[in-house]
Symmetry: C2
Amino acid sequence: MFIPEFRDIESAMELIAQHVHRTPVLTSRQLDVITGARLFFKCENFQRVGAFKFRGATNAVLSLSDSQRAAGVVTHSSGNHAAALAHAAVSRGVKAYIVMPSTAPEVKKRAVAGYGADITFCEPTLAAREAAAAEIISRTGATMIHPYDNFFIIAGQGTAAMEMLADIPDPDAVIAPVGGGGLLSGSAIATRHLAPAAKIYGAEPLLADDAARSLHAGAIQPALPPGTIADGLLTSLCERTFTVIREKVDDILTVSEEQIIEAMTLIWTRMKIVVEPSAAVPLAAVLANRALFSGRRVAIILSGGNADLSKLPFSQDA
Amino acid sequence: MFIPEFRDIESAMELIAQHVHRTPVLTSRQLDVITGARLFFKCENFQRVGAFKFRGATNAVLSLSDSQRAAGVVTHSSGNHAAALAHAAVSRGVKAYIVMPSTAPEVKKRAVAGYGADITFCEPTLAAREAAAAEIISRTGATMIHPYDNFFIIAGQGTAAMEMLADIPDPDAVIAPVGGGGLLSGSAIATRHLAPAAKIYGAEPLLADDAARSLHAGAIQPALPPGTIADGLLTSLCERTFTVIREKVDDILTVSEEQIIEAMTLIWTRMKIVVEPSAAVPLAAVLANRALFSGRRVAIILSGGNADLSKLPFSQDA
């Protein structure tokens, strides 16, 4: 099992630098007052395709051999990874086969189709998704690019923290949301190398707290049934990401749905930027753990901005 | 009637520079593709208090004489100017009397109160607002700071375009939303001086098109009853702003409510930033006038980001 080291993140950075946005790090006086901490937000909501996922997908596509490029790539996902892989592949002439559940939101189907991917719809079960992907691989020879259980994906996601730590060199803590753990493990590898004294936290919804339970139990725990608004964080860890997280992450902090919505509201109203619910989970963790972060310099990765405007969680007037 | 010249905007810039944010100019590849133009967005939604209004209010407060400072300032407004004046005044120890209609949204009442203003509620009519302000002035000697019919306010609002034109020196066109005309006249004074070849447009909702009708008729036309979602643009021009607009503005473009919502949706989903409906009106004008802007470098002032998350115009799933 290959696990990236910091030099692999450096290689990814070289490979993808001209293709991804160097996103800004924003601060907010008001959020500092509210939290009692000094917060730095790495704005991957401004990344191409609206999420950090474009980093790993671009690294994976640019790391293909010539014969792999010719056969194309495949993944099963209904979220940001599908759109990111589709765009990274198709924009450089590589075929992208995306397996999506037929129940995926229309807006996501349209986005993936808009990037020129070849979409296969299947029943909304993991077995059906894996079967559809296996059929495509046996028929086309396409390379599977898993959303997080992939060396190049993890190395690519690590470039967000690498850039962030160039702008904010000495944070007391780094927080990233955790679903399958690609972003968190990439961030942890970069942070342990560049800012060894910083604490590293994952942030996770209580309704999808398999990573926290896995870390505390010392073995991967299965994901819960979908329940959280943070729909980017439903997946469970794999051995590759769990190995990194066990070794390098200090703790995983869990937050309630109300705390996620409160954090998302604060980011939208005080910072005037659009983030998806998953991206608000680290700020929710700061709000829920004031003592841990009070007076500290805390670097947060805002993972994405693909909020569905037709399904916002803010309470509407009657 | 004193009307600012460019040197007055320069003076305002010197006075307020250390108190206001130098907001960024953002671009969007996707919006360039959609509009066929090359767009530059001056992000006053990231300004303090969430709107360009903080520039003029700060300039007005910093331009008070000592005796005026001692007596305080007064205005009648339920919008961004009230919050901006309250913050600009109270944060430097100047009393701010704000007259608001009792029907103003709770969120706006709380914002103005939160900045420490002394609020007087009145009936929601212009007569009642003016009477309440007059009573405060006769009782306290406070200085009236009108939201746009004020030399220092117009000069202060002009600093947004001045900064923008330092970043984007040679646009083919500059577009600002127009309500009472403070932002548009300040922008026009700055642009005619710094980029004399640029076309200057105001952008206005069809449901509040008094500025367009005034420009075409050659005389100030009264405002229509409130109907547009762009609640920052309900006011009508005054002689001071109309004089500048007649002389320096090329045209005022009007847009439908549907076009405003479409432009707002594009800014939120493609740029991942929060703007209020009024701020989306210039992009709506670009979308509604493709031929006018096709292939042109167009600089747009995004006037504010104080959208009410409990009353968003995006259609909700059932």
